[in-house]
Amino acid sequence: MEKLPETTDPVRTFLGRRAVFALTHLVCPLCTTGLVGYLIWLGADAARTPLSPLGLYLWPALLCASAVAALGTGGLFRASRGAGVFLLSGLLLLAFCLIFLFSFVHDAWRDIPDFAVGTLEIYLLFGMSLPTGMASLWWLSSCPIVGEKRLGADMAATIAAYVMLVLFGSCFLRLGAFISLGELPTLLVCVAIALAFFALLFHTLWLAALGHRALKTRFPAYGFCLRVLTVAGLPLLGLRLNSHIPFPADFQNIWCYLLVAFCALTLLPPTCERRFVRLQYFVRWAAFPFTLYFFLVFLPFLPCAALAILALGAGFLMLAPTFLLWTHVHALQESAKAIASRKTKVLLALAGLSLLPLAIVAATERDRAIVRPLVEAVGRPDFTSGRDALPMDEAAARRAAKKLFDCEFGHTIPLLSLYRERRIFDGLHPSQEVIDALEARFGLSTDENPSGDVFGALTRPAGTSRRRWQSTTPSQNKVAAVEVRNAGTRTPTLAFTLEKSPSPNCQFSAPLHLADGVWITGMRLKLPKDGEWKSATRRDRRVATWVYENIVSSSRDPALLTLDSSTEGRLKVFPLDEPREVEIDLLMPTPEWCDVPLVLGDTEVRLPGIPEPPAFEDERKAVAICFVGADATKPLPNADLYVCGGPEIAVTAEPPAEPPYAKEAVNAKRAHQFARGYAYAHGLRIARVDYAGDGWSRRMQSEAPRRPLPLLEPDDPWQLGAQAWQLAEEMGHRKDKSRLFVSPIRQLAERCRVLTSAEALIVVETEQQERALAAKDALSRNADLAFDITQAETPHATNCSAPEFLLVLLFALALLLRRILRLPSR
């Protein structure tokens, strides 16, 4: 057998012993052959695969090839001369073919039981075949044509021996079957695989280095050709491949190509000696952020590059950013040597480094300056300027809309897109109404890139917009029992017992039908853990829905009650792993609606009649609320009696003409002209304008901050009436008649204590969920109507060490920069 080189490495000395060497380089390949035979035996009954006609020839061929490889490996080590490169390369290829073949068998033949084709066997095969490949590489390195062995080869052979020792131990533990050590065998195998991978990597790098040295010596233009390939060829090929396989993101942007060209122009020319050396140094630093960005983007996938190369030959392009960075750093070092002054080098470096980031910041700020006004204008139209008025000209608005659509529906690239979205939209997203309005106005499309984003599934479910996550919790609507408490009063309580669901992670979701004029004032949920009753809080509907869906995903106890109109709503309760009890409080203004059943899912509830007479019914029996609230210092020259909430109007009032209400009054008139009713609250006076068409919207202006707030949906005049009724009751007991103009809808609803369609009743279980709910609610109060607060991040509840890590990263970059710049002066 071949004598191994002399070495003082005790490990290699041990591995060089004949018995050990024979074990690692002869027995293992034979085991490989055995495993292939095992595969064939397993596949004999599963000949339904597409390969079955060919299998009769393929499998024996593979068996023979494996046997030849196994025996040949042993014989090769007896040879006194180096073996043929092609034979050894073939052996290496065969070893990898076996790996993928077994993986194919593993997944293609599903009727093979798991114990027969388990995970461990795959890696055993991988490990067993690897020494064959290792041996091939060893002999490649020892061939006279490639020179003497170097460190890489030593490490490869050593590590391969480690691999076999580990695998034998794993195999022994596995075959023992009497000793259960949990994940240990798999862990050992994975370690072996990783070691083998690195061995391959090191040896490949060594081979590449040898080739590089040989070519550099023989071909003078080799260096320049390599540089062209590294700074221009590989990046452009990578971008070209990216157009077909957008991994890890779609970089098909004109700027990427331009920056690649710019980078190539800065790096290809030789380093200037005296003239233009500073300029060259500056532009090389200016291109460095681009190089660094792509290196960082591909850095997580660098260890997978070898697998990508095997799976997809062009996968070596994943290494292009690394090669580019290497070349760029060398070019910077060369340029730095030509500049004497260290201060000059530092200043030029800082100036160059900041060029591209500042350009990105400036472009983002420019986009923010044009997109936000457009979104706000579309979200809150100002009728005083005309129905289709925009704060910019049509062309600028179209460009802004396109940028918005690119931001929302276009391709995202790591990190930079996050910064742009955060800066332009403050972490929010435009609401669907704004998107629809822009889409209709400018004819823009929200479709995804037709070329397809193969890896788009990384950020959103397939076939959905990137703005929405879809929850697919199973649901049922079976009510086991219902009880009416406080019957015969104006405030009954319905107590539902929901049936337990046989399937896990199931929610109760059922439509709720109310009679006209019945309002919901509260809800309680019984928590199964301790039997405690938890009261619901009234929150913004978007906020409550978002929090509910997020809690459902973490399998906690929430309940959500929403109203779509004055008579239709939905109740959701999660989870249903046992019978759940929920109570809903009602407010019955008159007894006439008691005859109309309340329906939850398939369950009907008839409420008993109320003996008390109605409190606010007028002589015409219409549900109307009379309310007076006047400012003693500034009486309005109008009737003090306002009527709302009813199908007929008793008195209408003209809006005041004095500022600052004049604009709102004009807006109201203009809105009415466009078939949109408008009502406003001023000094708690609710005036209603004749509504035309089939609906009207109401907006309530608040003084601080001055912006409109959402009000009720058009189809619930009773709810508005209920609010006004409650306010009337309160005002009747107040002695001071000071203005209460500043009254956001939420506070108004809080006083009225009834559920509106703009809000929801939600029960949450834990304090953390309460905090998240409050934080999201606060965000909804301060966020612009034009933006979707459900897409915003939940504020951090725990300390995040991200800023500290960034400081460490910056410190490391500073050290690197200092290292690069610290070069001997001439």
Partner: protein, 165 residues
């Protein structure tokens, strides 16, 4: 007379490194979740969510990518790697650089998390999912340890590893 400048034998270095690893691991094991998660989990989760441009839900440190939800738990913190990395530096007599094990852990764990999330859609549901996830993690951590070990034992003035001296 024996030389006082002779380097310690490899077995001593290995023992020192193993003891350091064991001590650090026990120390980290003793710390509660409230200390480990902010120290080791927040940064990789934040950076991974930023890389994929998705919101990070706190305090669960969860983010949704596609149809899968990823949660950064204590088991993903990389505490063992941190202890091993510090041990490698201590074994190589570079005591002053032992602090670098912490940022290195954050960096390597971030890369591992990003790669795991990127590969998850392709391996989830297969019989190899668990082993592939484990193998990917070992690839990153073991690779970082090997690189660290190589750098640690590299002596610039000789251009060889300590073993070949």
């Amino acid at each position: 007379m024996s030389s006082s400048t002779s380097p310690p034998p490899p077995s001593f270095e290995m023992t020192r490194g193993l003891l350091a690893a064991l001590g650090l691991r026990l120390l980290l094991w003793a710390l509660p979740d409230a200390a480990i998660i902010p120290l080791f989990c927040c940064a990789p989760a934040w950076l991974a969510a930023a890389w994929f441009n998705v919101p990070l839900e706190t305090p669960d440190l969860a983010w949704q990518a596609g149809d899968a939800t990823f949660v950064m738990a204590r088991s993903c913190s990389g505490e063992t790697f941190c202890a091993l990395a510090a041990a490698v530096l201590i074994a190589g007599r570079r005591w002053r650089w032992a602090w670098a094990a912490y940022p290195l852990t954050l960096a390597v764990n971030t890369l591992r998390v990003i790669a795991a999330c990127a590969c998850a859609p392709f391996i989830e549901g297969t019989r190899l999912a668990a082993a592939a996830h484990l193998g990917l993690g070992i690839l990153f951590f073991l690779g970082a340890l090997l690189a660290l070990s190589f750098l640690n034992f590299w002596r610039p003035h000789h251009g060889k590893t300590a073993r070949n001296d």
